[in-house]
Symmetry: C2
Subunit: 348 residues, 2 copies
DNA sequence: CTAGTCTATGAAAGCGCTTGCATCAAAATT
DNA sequence: AATTTTGATGCAAGCGCTTTCATAGACTAG
């Protein structure tokens, strides 16, 4: 009567399930399941029949059902601040490769540097069965850590290593890295320093880099007022604006330190645009050593971070954590200064 | 007797479930479920009690169980060729934002430009409940398309638009885009052209860009032998090597076209390193117009692709497809040539 | 030849949720 | 006051899988 009622009668209504495969292959669902999960435990002939049926039906196991029944997902999650620029890309890529070596799948989400988004994404990953989490930096609402602890989800902090924090982490010491760089900068005669950074709030990495600069300046007896700070969000464009702002002030710095390469490259572009000779008139440095740094002209002097090693080790540690192994200590990686063309003697 | 047998007695053994919440709040699981999915259908007092319990227990719904019971996941998947360089980042970001406006979550995977990996990731995404898929380019094993069709998963192709293909797509016409660029190049007097591209195999976008060059050359009566081709994989480094190789030949081109910005930037760097003046001695062009293009010196002339618009529309179309709306036609976006500093008159 | 081992398989319970249907009390309608 | 409607809730059946336990047949050993 009502032809609208029957929907898409043109073909099979539902997706193939384990049971369908079982029926087609004339075995029980248990056997099909075994074929998929421990093939060696089933007779070769049966096995072949089953796989034929699987093919014939375009069957794919339903992850949710499997996770529920097996109480294992072999999945880990990572939430990174941004996907748009490639700060985290290399590290995450390595992380994922190593994870895959251990039979784990990676789910990655991004927070756009917003704590609330991060919290949401963390919950989402957990809901999706992540058995462990990789998070960038230490800073976040203690409630989340508590939540994760309650749910017994191992968490590994990365991209930072802070000796004063106790939770598992693999990364580098941001204070130290930046302090080292600043020390070299000061040795080159610079006395007025500009620092362009992401917002210091909710971002221990940015804060610690700032602290590194301060410490080095203090050690060299430079007064705090010689350091000018501009906070902005990560983008080349913003780096440029920040540079303009800093150079517009009365106390022009002779070196501008970028909180990361993206900001630094923005600053560098603007500097050139404004007619500064680099590094003769003004020096610029970055942090991270992403591909971008090598491609600008002059190439950017920056703090090199061992992205891939960090990602790989992170995967190993997280897998160990998931398998119940203890790992109370953190692991510190060394950064180095990558001297290229943008850092020079302070103009005089 | 055997203290090893009891495992981690230090705390609650299992994660909180809906049932635990129900018990704690003195209601049925049905009510808790309603609180989560249609709060307006439950009494405010009850609701409050339930949410209190949820908090107290650090409860998060189990995605798998929910998906299974509700037969809906509100998830779509995308598999992109690479995450390491940011070719796809902006588009995917926009895709994800728009998806989120429609209440969908995005799962992204990467294939490293390997067909087998892509197939794997597609199945993985399906297993995880993706209700629709965004794929880059048309080229893939027909078996996969068939598989997807059997499972009734809507697929949207993007980053390409080919009038001769019938499946839903949103993108730009790679042949046309590259042909337009080449036409301009030829108008500038160039007669010897080099083309650095990703492998043409399994990559319709690369192939079509190649075709675009060929067509434009034909139209201008340039013989095929005036076009030199180097295939390599995407990286700045490889772009540099390819440039060196091309310039090492006897028939030096006066312009080198990069199949994308990454390759082009590599070529550009090497060109400068080899002492060529750009664009006086040799011109270089890219494709995609990613951030990188603006940052090199001289800034790269490239084909601008409307990444964000493409991502946003892709999300809208895919959601429509999932909701059963018909969308047989593809949607073509316009590319433009972004003239910057690396394309000039052919040297004479 | 019988008891004991294996090996391959099946039956069925249960994983954590949603939802149709039933229930019941309170509000609205007559 | 009797009846109907409405709103809030509970019951219980699955959703698609894995896994324990049981079973039956085929071998091995004594």
């Amino acid at each position: 009567m009502n032809p609208n009622k029957k929907k898409s009668n043109n073909s099979l209504e539902k997706l193939a399930t384990l049971a369908d495969v079982a029926e087609q292959a004339q075995v029980s669902t248990a056997t099909v399941s075994r074929c998929l999960n421990s093939p060696e435990r089933v007779d070769p002939n049966t096995r072949e029949r089953v796989f034929k049926a699987i093919d014939a039906l375009s069957y794919t196991p339903n992850f949710g059902a499997r996770a529920m029944a097996a109480r294992r997902t072999q999945t880990v999650g990572a939430v990174i601040p941004t996907i748009e620029n490639s700060i985290f890309a290399r590290g995450i890529q390595a992380f994922q490769e190593e994870l895959s070596n251990h039979g784990f799948t990676l789910l990655v989400a991004s927070s756009s540097y917003k704590p609330a988004r991060e919290e949401e994404e963390i919950k989402n990953l957990i809901a999706r069965g992540a058995e462990g989490l990789l998070l960038i930096g230490y800073d976040r609402n203690p409630v989340i850590y508590e939540f994760l602890r309650n749910r017994k989800i191992p968490v590994l902090v990365t991209w930072a290593f802070d000796p004063s924090e106790s939770r598992p982490a693999i990364g580098f010491n941001n204070v130290e890295a930046m302090s080292n760089l600043t020390k070299r900068i000061i040795e080159l005669g610079h006395r007025q320093i500009g620092f362009i950074t992401a917002s210091l709030q909710n971002n221990d990495r940015a804060r610690n880099r700032f602290k590194g600069i301060q410490e080095a300046m203090k050690k060299a007896d430079l007064p705090e007022k010689n350091l000018q700070l501009v906070q902005t969000s990560y983008s080349i464009e913003n780096g440029s604006k920040a540079f303009e702002k800093i150079m517009g002030g009365k106390q022009r710095p002779t070196v501008v330190i970028g909180g990361n390469d993206v900001l630094a490259v923005g600053a560098l572009r603007k500097a050139i645009e404004m007619g500064f000779r680099i590094p003769d008139d003004v020096s610029v440095t970055g942090f991270d050593d992403i591909e971008l740094a090598q491609v600008v002209d002059p190439p950017l002097t920056t703090v090199h971070v061992p992205h891939r090693r960090m990602g790989t080790r992170a995967a190993q540690i997280l897998v160990a954590l998931i398998n119940g192994e203890k790992f109370e200590n953190s692991e510190k990686l060394q950064t180095t200064i990558q001297f290229r063309g943008t850092l020079g003697q302070a103009p005089q």
